[in-house]
Symmetry: D2
Subunit: 138 residues, 4 copies
Amino acid sequence: MTSKSKLVVRYAETDQMGIVHHSNYPIWYEVGRTDFTKEMGMPYDEIEANGVMFPLLSLNCKYIKAAKYNDTVIVETSVTKLNMVKVEFSYKVFRESDGELLNTGSTVHGMVTKALEPLNMKKEKPEIYRLLQAAMEK
Amino acid sequence: MTSKSKLVVRYAETDQMGIVHHSNYPIWYEVGRTDFTKEMGMPYDEIEANGVMFPLLSLNCKYIKAAKYNDTVIVETSVTKLNMVKVEFSYKVFRESDGELLNTGSTVHGMVTKALEPLNMKKEKPEIYRLLQAAMEK
Amino acid sequence: MTSKSKLVVRYAETDQMGIVHHSNYPIWYEVGRTDFTKEMGMPYDEIEANGVMFPLLSLNCKYIKAAKYNDTVIVETSVTKLNMVKVEFSYKVFRESDGELLNTGSTVHGMVTKALEPLNMKKEKPEIYRLLQAAMEK
Amino acid sequence: MTSKSKLVVRYAETDQMGIVHHSNYPIWYEVGRTDFTKEMGMPYDEIEANGVMFPLLSLNCKYIKAAKYNDTVIVETSVTKLNMVKVEFSYKVFRESDGELLNTGSTVHGMVTKALEPLNMKKEKPEIYRLLQAAMEK
């Protein structure tokens, strides 16, 4: 399963190079995860309401082409790894006008309680685990 | 009492106009409040640990001259109004190199509990109220 | 003429109060201006391509109710004042689910060249001036 | 050569998890590069004034421990790779109070003209190249 999120580049996301500042891509990935979790059947705010949070353990970005103000970009999001304590999401960012691939990346997340203590998703939150697994295998 | 906070403009704070994006000044004001509350005797994180939060009710900014990447700016912060349920902070942002005034502004804050319910500072948190009052009158 | 922009609150836009950080509203206003200028017939990137920029002179925000992660908000944008050297935009931010008014604000912009020198829009860029005027009066 | 940058975590940098949002670390790295280039003998704004820009090609972050509002953090920055067309910076972020390592990362940058065209630093900007090389080897 791959979710598609459509974003229009905000002026505030540009820097004095005249392109989107690189720190915005991780934020766009997060928008992608928001849409992905909705599509998989449990929006991330509901996951947090269930007492589970997905803080980042690592982040990778590859910057291929620059996005500019007012570009429409598509963020494709999928789950690429899952085990009892970690989940990896992967991303592709395209420019809508010409389909150009602008950026690729991935994020690895721990699964923790509101108190930031690690939990075993598969055992303690089997419903969420199954939804992630089904979305990864779909 | 007026606190002075020194900041160096970050590249990420610029936009494609080649100047600091206007949305950063409210964030600089907040840095000013952090330093102000330290100087007045109760850092804002301690205020929150006491179960009090200061969400914004209103914000005003006047943009006089542009700040640029790598400029050192000084944020001057003071309390300009205080009553049982609201506090107003005022700000002046100067460029250090030539003392030029770049920006002025003010923020009005409610005083609420962690559950975002209003509280009467003077009655329920007299210590914090007195510190703000003393800082305003100093 | 009033343009309507639909946004979904990003996780990165929240702060440890659990609500949208106040500094995001000016960025949402800017998204509103982007959509407004498209609707009026000249997108802001085209305005800049014509050598005109609209830096902020002042900003006002009133925070009425908090927005939260994953809320869908509607930003209504209109031009409320215009003269040869300045334009004022006004904004209303609503929560889509219940139509609750969350925030109102306005921004006053100078009209300058790429070198940040003021210009007389009515004389030097009559086409842009007329579009803004028509949009204000519509 | 390793530069040390001291930052105090801003309230706006937190998210509703109650910790620093992950997208801020790349911005802190950039603050580190600003200080690093000053120390090496040519501040980044001067490098850009020389017609050279360092856009990101890739970014890696490892999140070890969370930073919180008002924490003082130290960003250690160094150049870890350099060739004619690319430079890699590496970063370590420590919490000052207890020396805890919070985050490590690296960024790879292309070297391009203002028009975003690649240039051969060693040939076309030997002075900047030598400064980077000297800083790496120091």
